[in-house]
């Protein structure tokens, strides 16, 4: 009985989480525009979605900005983390505390403050400003992902590499980088998803003709319900689901492989 109650509870919560999504998916195939009635199966909204210039351009910008900002902030942030870890305590604390600002501050304040800066500096709003904004809020997350890995590093490991004849550069590539790689990858993925998902900061830093998916959805939704958004949601949901399943399967396969390897060795 207790077990049943538990399961029922879990079921209810997941129903709450998924019902809206499934309804969106179902209605993305509804030929009737009104929500109340089922007008028959159709792929009309998907067709319209792929013909919608606005959405396609938003998709393009979303992806370009996510990739560019993830790559740039990963490089910038990894280098910064290595540099910061070598600093003396006082300047290090200052830099780290400032880096926490975009993480802790509400997005709206980060967005607004960047907007003021761009107006103040007379920079034209558009792709450039949005990219700068994304790099700015992404980089601290990269630093925060790489930093713990650097802290775990045994400093003697770097010295050991030098001792064995490695130049500092060689030691960095062959010894330091592989060990902090998990942190770099985490930071890069985090930056990518944060960028894809961002609305508030983009909203304040974008210009005419440049918008990402979030902004496009916001402006459409403000005008009321639109079946094209249902189709878009369905596609987004499916891609997230597939991506996560792939990641999950690969991870559990890695764990299994590792366990097997260890079992054969012991």
């Amino acid at each position: 009985m207790k077990k049943f109650l538990k399961r029922f509870y879990v079921f209810l919560i997941f129903l709450f989480l998924y019902a809206p999504i499934f309804v969106l998916i179902a209605y993305s195939f509804n030929s009737s525009r009104s929500r109340g009635a089922w007008g028959g199966f159709t792929l009309k909204w998907y067709r319209e979605l792929f013909m919608d210039r606005e959405i396609l351009s938003a998709l393009k910008y979303t992806i370009i900005i996510a990739v560019l900002s993830a790559v740039i902030s990963t490089i910038l942030g990894t280098a910064a983390a290595i540099g910061i870890s070598q600093m003396r305590k006082f300047p290090r604390n200052i830099v780290m505390n400032i880096s926490y600002l975009p993480v802790l501050n509400p997005d709206i304040i980060t967005g607004v403050s960047l907007m003021i800066l761009f107006i103040f500096a007379n920079i034209k709003f558009g792709f450039k400003t949005m990219l700068i904004a994304h790099i700015t809020f992404n980089t601290p997350y990269v630093i925060l992902s790489v930093m713990p890995k650097l802290k775990q590093l045994d400093t003697h490991v770097y010295e050991a590499a030098l001792d064995l004849g490695a130049t500092p550069w060689y030691a960095f590539w062959k010894v330091i980088l592989p060990q902090i790689m998990p942190g770099i990858v985490t930071g890069c993925l985090l930056a990518f998803t944060l960028s894809i998902d961002d609305f508030v900061i983009s909203f304040f830093t974008t210009g005419v003709g440049v918008s990402n998916l979030s902004i496009a959805v916001f402006s459409m939704a403000r005008r009321g319900v639109n079946p094209k958004i249902n189709a878009l949601s369905t596609l987004m949901f499916l891609s997230v689901l597939i991506l996560l399943i792939i990641v999950n399967v690969r991870m559990s396969r890695d764990i299994k492989a590792k366990k097997q390897k260890e079992a054969t060795l012991v």
């Binding site: 003697h156 590499a161 030098l162 064995l164 490695a166 592989p178 060990q179 060795l265």
Partner: protein, 350 residues
């Protein structure tokens, strides 16, 4: 054997405001096993790091075969290090760790494979090449670290407390193995430890350090039998240290009695420290000894008993294979050879 391979001249090292090393002068001969011994923070690891190239001396020169290498980076020195906690590369397996130095020199893979196999054999880790580092025990990691350093055929191998993390039994075994390896390969070892027993067992030369200064340098026998000062006497083995007066050459007074000794050159009627090893005090019947005292405590230490015997102004620590009961009055005898005289704190008094 007499060639000076490595020489430190007037080395001093200051970190921010603290002085880590002062006026270090020492040389290391080819094929020698030299141990830097001292309590933690005495500067012994700093010396090792200066030889390895990880620290620059504030002043002084590091001579390798007569040439100053003080400014040479670690990767250009023909010196390799076994780090305290091994510093193995956790993302590489045993083979890759050991092959690291050779891979940098772009040696052809077949030679590398052959060399790695033979060095792993030497450290008793044949067939462990594919294992990951974390699957090894502490002792095995230790061997990998040694193999990784030795494969580069360094002129000098630096070892920074390499056995500190191992348990007692393994440590004893590794001491013997390391010594054997050193003799077989004919490589100069510079070994850092705070364990005096380890230093005495393995070394050709022991350098005792304290507070950034070399206290005494010599063979293990010299260091043990003829400690130069109170610090060395106290740090190496156990000692009874008692105030005394050097009346003249060959005669010292302590515990209210004059003793014959073998020391000279302290002047006349000087205050001195008298050092006597616990095993050098012989227990005889009451009344037959030079001193008398009462047994206060007895502890069995495995091979011998450690007894505290209280005489009129000092409680003597005595090691003896025979036990005397607590409360018994005994006589104590000390031979002239076993009395070591030291200047008091470096300054003489009237």
């Amino acid at each position: 054997m007499d060639e000076k391979l490595l020489e430190l001249v007037d080395i001093s090292k200051t970190f921010d405001t603290t002085e880590a090393l002062r006026d270090i002068n020492l040389y290391i001969r080819r094929n020698e096993f030299v141990t830097l011994l001292g309590p933690s923070g005495c500067g012994k690891t700093t010396i090792l790091r200066i030889i390895g190239g990880f620290e620059q001396p504030t002043t002084g020169r590091v001579l390798f075969e007569g040439k100053d290498i003080a400014s040479l980076p670690p990767y250009k020195r023909r010196v390799n290090t076994v780090f305290q906690r091994y510093a193995l590369f956790p993302h590489m397996n045993v083979f890759e760790n050991v092959a690291f130095g050779l891979a940098i020199k772009k040696i052809d893979p077949r030679t590398i494979e052959r060399k790695v196999a033979s060095i792993l054999e030497l450290v008793n880790l044949a067939n462990y090449g594919e294992r990951s580092i974390e699957s090894l025990s502490g002792g095995q990691q230790q061997r990998v670290a040694i193999a990784r350093a030795l494969i580069n055929e360094p002129e000098v191998l630096l070892l920074d407390e390499p056995l500190a993390a191992l348990d007692l039994k393994l440590r004893k075994g590794m001491q013997i193995e390391l010594k054997k390896m050193q003799q077989k390969l004919g490589i100069t070892f510079v070994y850092v430890t705070h364990d005096q027993e380890e230093a005495l067992t393995m070394s050709d030369t022991v350098v005792v350090m304290n507070d950034g200064v070399i206290q005494q340098m010599g063979t293990p026998e010299d260091i043990y039998n003829e400690p130069k000062n109170i610090f060395v006497a106290d740090f190496i083995g156990e000692s009874n240290i008692i105030d005394g007066i050097m009346i003249r050459d060959y005669l010292v007074e302590f515990s209210g009695r004059k003793f014959e000794c073998v020391d000279t050159g302290f002047g006349e009627n000087r205050y001195v420290d008298v050092v006597i090893r616990p095993e050098d005090i012989k227990i005889v019947k009451e009344g037959e000894g030079m001193l008398t005292g009462q047994v206060k405590s007895v502890i069995f230490k495995g091979v011998h008993y450690e007894m505290l015997v209280e005489s009129q102004d000092y409680t003597w620590k005595i090691h003896n294979t025979l036990m005397e009961p607590i409360g018994k009055k005994v006589g104590l005898n000390i031979l002239p050879d076993d009395i070591h005289i030291m200047t008091k704190g470096g300054e003489a008094h009237e």
